[in-house]
Structures are given as C-alpha cells and as structure tokens.
Symmetry: C2
Subunit: 430 residues, 2 copies
C-alpha cells in the first residue's frame, strides 16, 4: 500500500475515533512512523449523531477529515481501508488494500450495534452508530409523516407516527427528547393537515431506570424531563421481536410501529486473528492490561470502546464513552514515546470527569465527580463540553450557530430527505 520503509518504528492505528485520534496526536512529533487506517476518511463525533437524525445539525458539522488531523507531519500516513485480519505471527495486517507489517499495532475499532443475534431486529430496526445510519433515520422519520398524510387507514397512520426507541442509555434518552421537541415545535406547523398530537414517542428500557451508568438522581430527573415532554417511558420492558410492524416485548405490552430504533446494545468491532481467549463473551471486547496490551501480545494494543481493562474499580472495563477513549489514547501515546528512551511505562489511570446527557431545551442531567446537578445549568455545561470536544474550529462554529438558531427559533431546518431511505414497512397492515 505504498507506505515507505523508515528507520522509525511503525505504529498502525486501526480506527480514527476518539481513542485513535488522541493517540495519533500524541505521536505526531515523535520518532514513529504512524499509519492510521479507517474505513471512513473522517472522524465521527458520535455523541451528536442523534441531532443529525432529528434535523438539528448538518452531518458534515460532526465529521472531520482525518487527513486534516494529520496534516503537516511527514511520518504520518492515512489509508482508507478496512482491516480484514491480523497476522500475529508475522506482525502484519491484511486489509482491503493489501498487507502491511507493523512494529506496534493499536486496535481502536470501537463498537457496532448489537442485535444479540436477532435477525429480524437487525433487518427491520434502525441503528444510529454512524453518519449514514443517522441520515437514514432522518429520512425515515420524515418519510413516515409524508406517508401518514396519505393513508386513510387508522392503524397504518398510528403506526407511522409511533416511534419506539429501545434502550434507555444516553443515546435513547437524547433521541427521545429531541423527537419530543420536534413533535411539539415542528410537526404542527409542517403538517397542519395531520393530527400530529397523535404522534407517540416511546422509550423502552430493559432495567428499572434510565441512564443506568449515571446516578439515581440523574436517572430520576431524566425520566421526569422526558415525561414532561410527553415521552412514554417503559421500564423493565425488553423488546424481543419486531417484524417491521409489530414489536413484542417480555410483557403484555406490544407496539405497532413503523420505526423501531435500536439503541439497546453494542458489541466490539473485532478483527480476525485476535479472537479466542482475549474476547469477553457477549460484548466481544478485547481484554487488555493496564498498558493497553492485548492479553498474550506484547506489541498489540487495544484502546477505546473495543478494549476492556478489568480493574478493581472497573471490573467490566471503563465506560464506553469519549473520555476513557481519549485518555487511553493519550496514555498509550505517552508510553510508546517512553519506550524510545527506555523510560518506565505508566499504568493507565482513568480520571473520571463525569458524564452527562441532555433531554431537551434547557434540560440536562450531569454527574460530575463532586457535584451532581440537573436542569438549565447542566444543559449549558453539556453544550459547552460538546463544543469543546468537537474537532475543528469551523465545526464548533457551525454547530454553535445551529444551536443558537434552533433555540431562538424553536426550529430544526435540516429536515431534509436528501437520500430517501427504502423502508421495509409495508403500507398495509395485514
């Protein structure tokens, strides 16, 4: 793949997410040859995908060209490629564009949606882990309302306006809040000839509280906020099947819906050749030690959501969020630099900066290490933190302007069906 030989050691980083980019930035001025591979030519700011789906932000504002991150560093290379297999014997990766030897390999492939083997769910429900998926969901939501206008069938219309979000983590909570605001602020104006009060937003959570990774008070407040916005929150309910029209759960409750959004689980994106004892069953995460080394390998590391570092305080690994990913990337970068001069390596220490979720206009919940708060102030902090961690000045500015505009005008102008989504929903319920 035309990467020149170099006297520096070659680090291959697979994945340009939070972890991979943080690592790359640490190595940029050091004596390494760094090859970043990603199947996209951009970094995705995943925490804001739900705003793309709901027409609040343009997709390009939460994406950033990876080549631009690496600009100006002569020992940096980017390759648009998918890694197929790791040859651990010969320290080589096999990719869609050929093979390449490495001195150090860093797996930062992140996670993908986990349908837990349910093929129907995978086929009929919508995921929201990538920008194209978010755009598909945006198209589908808008297409549903266009279709609801046309039908005289009561059941069909109800199903088209019934949204079921499965999974009460941050993604589900934030998406439910955004949909509720669309229902209130935009639908009645855009569809005066449709009784949009009948639109339903259901948030289905398998356990007994929303945002289970956050504090009890955050969970409680998030639920209150959602109910104020008219979202139906279903706790201790698990969706077990969905055929494109009807969702069955573990309870009596069923949902007739044209739109089921699956945000109820993720699994690591694994690579052939690294399977086996290293994988945590279920999540498929790679077990790593405190130096991010994948168990059994000296020169293969994993960072970010794909890695599971089992410490006393985090027996199931760190939370799958941007913060641990970035800190892991930085720590690994520092340690690799230390190897250049034979210095002792620093074991990874996670500095928990807290977590937060926004529910809607003026409504957010925040758990900081010393301080938990909810409401308007949390909402401002949430916006500030997200702007801060977005990559690129232009992205920050455009996102900021969109937020101010949306706030002042109670609007979301990116409600565009740029590419129609070919939906599976049948126009007639049998």
């Amino acid at each position: 793949m035309n990467i020149p030989q170099s006297s520096f050691k070659r680090v291959i980083i697979i994945g340009g997410g939070f972890a991979g980019i943080a690592l790359a930035r640490k190595l940029c001025k050091k004596e390494f040859q760094v090859v970043v591979m990603d199947k996209n030519n951009y970094h995705t700011f995943q925490p804001l995908l739900y705003q793309v789906s709901t027409g609040g932000l343009e997709p390009d504002s939460i994406a950033y060209p990876i080549r631009k991150v690496l600009q100006g560093y002569p020992n940096f290379f980017f390759r648009l490629a998918k890694v197929l297999e790791v040859d651990t014997e010969n320290n080589k990766v096999h990719t869609t564009i050929g093979e390449l030897k490495f001195d150090y390999l860093v797996v930062a492939t992140g996670t993908t949606t986990n349908f837990f083997g349910n093929k129907d769910l995978e086929k009929y429900s919508m995921a929201m882990k990538t920008i194209p998926q978010s755009l598909n969901l945006r198209s589908l939501i808008l297409e549903n309302f266009e279709q609801a206008l046309l039908t005289d069938d009561y059941h069909e219309r109800e199903a088209l306006m019934n949204f079921v979000i499965v999974g009460g983590g941050p993604t589900g909570v934030e998406l439910a809040g955004a949909l509720a605001e669309i229902k209130k602020g935009i639908l009645p104006k855009d569809y005066p000839d449709l009784d949009t009060r009948r639109a339903q937003i259901n948030l289905v959570q398998g356990s007994d509280r929303l945002l289970p990774e956050m504090s009890e008070i955050a969970s409680k407040k998030a639920e209150d906020f959602l109910e104020q916005l008219g979202v139906h929150v279903w706790k201790n309910v698990r969706v077990e099947s969905y055929d494109g029209k009807l969702a069955h759960t573990n309870t009596e409750t069923t949902f007739e819906t044209a739109t089921l959004i699956w945000a109820a689980g993720v699994k690591a994106v694994t690579l052939e050749g690294l399977d086996g004892d290293n994988l945590v069953s279920g999540s498929k995460r790679l077990r790593v030690n405190q130096y991010h080394q994948v168990n059994g390998y000296e020169h293969i590391f994993a960072i970010g959501d794909v890695a599971q570092m089992e410490l006393e305080a985090y027996p199931d690994g760190h939370p799958m969020m941007a913060q641990p990913a970035m800190q892991q990337g930085e720590n690994l970068g520092e340690n690799l630099v230390r190897t250049l001069t034979g210095k002792t390596l620093k074991p990874f220490q996670y500095r928990d900066k807290g977590s937060m979720a926004t529910i809607g206009r003026n409504k957010a919940v925040a758990d900081l290490p010393r301080f938990k708060f909810q409401g308007v102030f949390a909402w401002f902090v949430w916006m500030f933190v997200h702007l801060y961690f977005l990559i690129g000045f232009r992205n920050r500015l455009v996102v900021f302007i969109n937020w101010v505009y949306n706030y002042v005008k109670f609007d979301r102008e990116a409600r565009l069906i740029i590419r129609p989504y070919k939906k599976q929903y049948k126009t007639q319920l049998d």
Copy 2:
C-alpha cells in the same frame, strides 16, 4: 391524496425550484388552494451545487424544506410525489401517490442533464444537477485520490488524478475553478505522499468561448483566470464518447480519465400527456405564450427552465437561470390573482439583472445591464447576490461562515466521503 375540497380554485404547482417557490409565495395569502408537489421535500439552491461537490459547503446549507416555505398558510399543501402524467381532458394529474384534479396546473419541473442519447456517457460520467449527484461527485473525487495513492501503475494514477469537465457554461467554469483551488491549497497538504502537481483539470468547451451566454470580455477574463489557476481550457472540442477510462473527442485530443463531469447540456423534465406540438425539439422545453400558458391549453402553465417563451428579444426562450424563473413565477402569481377580480392580465416582461460566474478566490466575472466588470469586486458582488437569494436566514449564515472560513484558512473542510460512490472505473487499464 387527502387534499380537502375547497371553495377556492385549486392550483397545482409541480416543482419546488426557483419558479415554483416564487409562484407559491405570491399566492400564499390569496384565495387559492395551492398544492405544491416535488419529488424532494426540499428546495435546492442549484447555483452552489459545485461547492458541495468540492467540499466547500455542507449539502444541508443549500437545501431548504419546502414545508417551511409554506408554513402558516392554511390553504397550502405539500405532497412528496412524482407526477407521472397529465390528463388534460379531465384536468387531472396522475402521480406516484394517486390522482388529483386541478383548476390550474403549473409545470415548473426544471431541467435534467442531457446526454443526447449517448448511453455510455450517461453511464460513466458524473452529472451535477441534484444534491445527491453533487455528493456522489464529492465522494468520487476524494476516492480517486485515495486510490491514486495505492497504485504503482503510472497510467492508472494519472487517470485517477485527471479531471475532465465537459461544458464551459457557469457550472463547468465554477467547478473547474474550485477544483484548481483544491489542487493548489489542499491536495499537497492532504496527500504529501502523492505527487499532486500531476493532477490535471481540463475544461472542454464545444464552442469558441467559455460562458457563451455572457459578454466577450467576461468569456475572455474567465479563461484568463482559469489559466492562471492552471486549468487547461480546450475550446472547439466536443467529447463524443467515454467508456469510463478514455474519452474521445471530435479532434485528435483524447483524455484518459477516471472522472468525466458532464455539464454540457440540459433538457426539460417533461410530463406524459403534455407531449407533442408543445415541445421544442432537442431541449424538450414547453412552448408558452407571454402569460405562461402552454400552447393549446388555457389552464396549464409552464414557468422556469422548462418553459420556452419565444419573444423577439429571446427567440429561444429566456436563459435557464434563477432570475427568469423567479420573475416568471411572480408574474404568473400576480396574473392568477388578477383573474380573481377579473382584471386584465400582464404579459411577462423579463427584467434582465445580468449574470455572473465565479472562478475562484477573488476572481469572478459579472455582466450587469449597464456595467461589466471582473476580478475582486465582481467576486464580492457574486457572493453577496448568492447569499441574498439563498432561502433562509440559517442557510445564509452557515454559508457565509463557511466562505469566510474557507477564505481565511485556504481550506474546505467538508472533504468527507459520507457515502462512498460505487465507481465504474476499472482499477486496471487494459
């Protein structure tokens, strides 16, 4: 399609482009029931499509939800539909979502790319008339460079970096300028491991000057500007065939290229049922009189690019630009309102406000009715005019910010392959 009966006369407008929207706005507070149909739920600001293709603007900034234009007017309806046929006997349209009767029908369907029946050209070349097409071109341009990095075949690499734009009208000229600026400002930084000086931008024009609709001095200056930017301008050359690799022309010149952009002709988007004597041969435009009535019909009108009003000053109809389209929409709207009170109709008079084209940073050409000028001032006027005619405050603001950013930073950050374009180019030249 669930449009209620009304005591007002029903006007069906097919197409939410410049003409259709201008007409709709004139009718919004009047005693008409207005049904706007479009196959997209948004208005496209076509003059800026080339900036989407070249990563300078986000697609959502040049699109505007049609429903938002019509918000707040109870007698206005939008339907996402494609019109299949006009039943002129019964005053009805047949569409993908059913049929509907009209009192007045306004055809504002615009134009589509004209490949003049050449199937290979249609299959292998890129068009740039819609937002998805512009995004496909954006993806392809970026994919080409990623692919050029990987090949050791000299011919293949040259072909991947060789861009051929066919058609020297405003679209071709503006796209060539933008590509030349990318070559200069971005490629060397993004692809340090590729000899991007070898990238070629060819602009092929069938006649003896660029921008044939503009003044001689504008043509001359546009050509000078392009050559300063390193674009190869080929005049009196017509591309006659392209098989995805090799383009033959009417001269000795051939082009080995992976990317041929076809901006050399348009034809009207016609409707079944309106064919026959009304169509101009070749362009397929509908002949209309000075009241926009399609020849032979009293209640069927055509406005915008699809219409050809043959006046002494414009024997082949008005130029296919936003200005005539908007003015026609406004004139027809006023006349329809006049019919309500039995007032005399006003024949259409085109007020030529001039035309302009931008070539690149600080470089544009402008022909105003009393004043022709080129260079920095024309470039500022071009930007001002385009911002002014963009629909929506948010779009204007976001476009403005992107322009300022791109200007100050010599950058274009939307160089994202959000959806890969499945290209036809074979990786091996036979």
